[in-house]
Amino acid sequence: MAAAVGVKGLSGGNKREEEKESDMSNMVGDSSMSDAKKFTALVVDNNIVVQNVEQMLLHKKGFETKVVENGQEAVNIFSEGNSFDVVFMEMKLPIMDGIQATKELRAMGVKCLIFGMTTSESKFDIQAFLEAGLDGCILKPLDFVKIDSALKCLEK
């Protein structure tokens, strides 16, 4: 599978936001990060298989994760004051899709990394998703190489 496509350069730095504590699921699995540097990730996907595989991959890389099933839930979780270092946002979601959710998060002032996730190879689809405010778009499935690329962005 292709690695990240259409990765935008980050503008205005990539600082972790000092915000209220986020509601995280317990971390399981071994970590490739030190205890002093555990990143948090929000997985936005309505497919249980995708949720579980992405969560497992992220846990093995030392992330703490939370999963929501649609764009509206993603917007709500940030509205409630939660924060994450990175969001992995599926493009085609029920209730509110990933493109709209990304636009709303950016309009709310959410500055964390948001990576779009899709199985679509349509340049038109990917371009629309990127223009919503993504930091990059990843062709599914997520894997360790793609997570490492995300980690590099986080650690800058």
Binding site: D30, N47, V49, V50, N52, K92, T119, K140, P141, F144
Partner: protein, 155 residues
Amino acid sequence: MNSRVVEMQNKYAEYAISLIAQGIMDDQFNRVQNMQDNSNPNFLSEILSSYLGDMPKLIHSLALDLQQQYVDFVKLDKTIHNIKGSSSSIGAICVLNACNAFVACCKEQDIEGCFKCWEQTSNAFALVKLKLEALLILEQQIRAAGGIVPKPVGY
């Protein structure tokens, strides 16, 4: 080590390799197998069972949508996208490939083409189901004999 367990482990490993050699699964399947460890000993069977349980409903939903008087191609596309997502996550490349053809027909609003693609997707899933269920049985047999499920070589 119990020679029977070793024999079952070898059979499992060869079977898993053959799924990739036959183009039914791809390297993502190796990665998913490798995620299973002492802290998550049932990860593979849970993920595969989720996939095998979820897919029939999605495929059936596609059939119902195609039989509507006015086919909603946007809805169809979303369901196919969902199937692609879960299939790519476990490495079910033959289902993913069938879905790619389906997406193309959907985009052209080619109903006849969509019906053919639905059949191909359905057949591809039936094959994956058969193979993965056999693999899960082998896994159960290894565990029942007190053995450890082997990981793919090179991971």
